[in-house]
Amino acid sequence: MSATALARWGSRTLIGVPMLFLIAFFLLPFLVVFKISVSEMDTVFFRDVLAWADGLVTIKINFANYFSLAQDGLYLGTYIRSLGYAAMTALICLLIAYPFAYCIARSPADKRPALLMMVMLPFWTSFLLRIYAWKILLADSGVFNQLLLVLGVIAEPIKMMNTPFSLILGMVYCYIPFMILPLYATLVKMDLSLLEAALDLGATPAQAFWRITVPLSKSGIIAGSMLVFIPCVGEFVIPELLGGPQTLMIGRVLWDEFFGNNDWPMAAAVAVVMVLLIIVPLALFNKHQAEANAKAAA
């Protein structure tokens, strides 16, 4: 075998292994879920799409679940709400995390590891415990309300728990490290002489920030937003503990279909649409990026 053939074989193996992993643990399960979503319920179980009876093979593909998803306002509204809350969370995370990551990246090199450690410190405590702590802080008779009452800022408790406010607060609180870390990674490797060059060419520090720092941290902004947005769309625990009746999200619907109604095909259809809702914009975005890169290279 020649060296180049060996190298080609080697690179194929390297690409092939994760590819196989993704096929085995993502694509195949997804196809299974999809198959369930197009099957029919039969009392408490769902029927297989492929049936074998009396020498007759019947394939029954049932799209009814998808039709009801599209027609039922409940599902549609929940999808939109989930995307909205997730987008809102990602945006707020970005606004808080950017200055945070910026300051860490610009602090003296020997202090950065300690600061990063502090960003990750919350992970050392149980996630559930931290969410429950927010319940206590935000309750009508909770710490915040008591404090404001004592200070005389408010006359009666504000309702904070089980509102969109508490939901978004909880999600921002939980997911902000996932925004800070990729932003930090792009900001810390930025060549600072670029900022000096911008100042030298007449840009004020604010202009240098918007024209140089922000565009150059684009990859970090995108990565962080995705890391926050995607899990937030399907988030179940936080809406369950901090959200209220107005904040029904798709994770809860999924749970209800599986374990409340025991309607696996419907639950599977909800899940498939959720995956598509996230993947399609991502794919379009990637395609756009690739085209922009190709155009620049031409």
Partner: protein
């Protein structure tokens, strides 16, 4: 009054004086090179001109205005960075237009200026490329175009050719000088490469440990260095330690362990003073027999300015050959001979006993 006046500039980092009381006048249209090894303070001085560092004390006056208090973006000064610092997310055109846009220039004016700059550095076909799609030499030209686009009153070059390979560097040196002269901008450059400084600059300031040791035209710096450091830093030099034994207005004699030096010009010194005698390798003669009286500049030099030694190493460099000659005292002289004739006489080989001699006019006496 000089166009750029640097007055008693001091820059202190903690306890260290990076720039230590430097004063310097630079005339309009000059290309001035600050030359020194790394850590000598030349880059700090340049960064103070650009506005990235604030002097601890001192004044910088450009065209009659003290600019020390001005922010970098308010100074009529542009800099070409050592790493070029091209904005990676902008194409060549937008990189050059960046400074013009900050000035609020009108769109057609910007387009005209950018095209003019692209024309000047011959990069018109590359306007839409991103910096990473260009070669090192092209990037350097974009950086130059960008720093000249705003027509600065002062151009700063930080190791302008440091990132290029040797062959390209030689070609680019003169190209860069031609462009700067065509634009007519006053220029201060920083380099550790003496050849680059000598080729490009009209005047050179040699820096060491935060101070400027000597300022002069390239030939002044080379032929009449004013101290041991400058003589040693610029080119190669042979140094003899000695003592003044005769001090006349038109000549001096210096005794060193190796030989007696007859210097055919007066020096500002006193009898018995400890000095260094510096002679450049190319100003020395090398031959198997002792030099004849007829070969000397004057009768007074006979028996002076000559030593005997043994060739220890020969470095053939094509146009030149450098001979290393070890003297009885242990001092090793470097002597270069041009290889003007193709096959000249009997070649000297390692181990040969030889005479090395030089003229009294070629000696530079350095006070300690």
């Amino acid at each position: 009054m000089a166009f750029l006046q640097i007055r008693h500039i001091v820059k202190q980092f903690d306890e260290v004086f990076a720039v230590d009381d430097v004063s310097l006048d630079i005339a309009q249209g000059e290309i001035f090179a600050l030359l020194g090894s790394s850590g000598c303070g030349k880059s700090t001085l340049l960064r103070m001109l650009a506005g990235f560092e604030t002097p601890t004390s001192g004044q910088i006056v450009l065209g009659g205005q003290d600019i020390v208090g001005l922010a970098p973006y308010d100074r009529p000064i542009n800099m070409m960075f050592q790493s070029y610092a091209l904005f990676p997310h902008l194409n060549v055109w937008d990189n050059i237009a960046f400074g013009l846009r900050r000035d609020g220039m009108s769109k057609p004016d910007i387009a005209q200026r950018v095209d003019e700059m692209l024309e000047m550095v011959q990069l018109k076909p590359y306007a839409k490329r991103k910096p990473h799609q260009l070669s090192g030499g092209q990037q350097q030209r974009v950086a130059l175009a960008r720093s000249l686009a705003k027509r600065p009153r002062l151009l700063l070059l930080d190791e302008p050719l440091g990132a290029l390979d040797a062959k390209l560097r030689q070609r680019t040196q003169l190209e860069l000088v031609h462009i700067i002269q065509r634009v007519g901008v006053t220029c201060v450059m920083v380099t550790h490469d003496q050849e680059e400084a000598m080729t490009m600059a009209t005047r050179i300031g040699v820096m060491s440990e935060g101070k400027i040791l000597q300022i002069g035209r390239p030939e002044e710096i080379y032929e009449t260095p004013n101290c041991r450091f400058v003589a040693d830093f610029i080119g190669t030099v042979n140094l003899f330690k000695g003592q003044v034994s005769v001090d006349e207005p038109d000549h001096v004699v210096i005794d060193s362990p190796e030989c007696r030096h007859y210097v055919s010009h007066g020096i500002t010194g006193t009898l018995g003073m400890e000095v260094d005698v510096a002679v450049r390798p190319e100003k020395m003669g090398l031959q198997a027999a002792a030099p004849l009286a007829s070969e000397r500049e004057s009768a007074a030099e006979v028996g002076h300015n000559q030593v005997q030694g043994e060739i220890t190493d020969i470095a053939y460099l094509g146009s030149l050959t450098t001979y290393h000659v070890r003297l009885a005292s242990g001092l090793v002289l470097k002597v270069t001979q041009t290889n003007a004739a193709r096959h000249a006489g009997v070649p000297l080989v390692s181990g040969d006993a030889v005479w090395v001699w030089w003229d009294g006019t070629d000696i530079v006496v350095l006070t300690r």
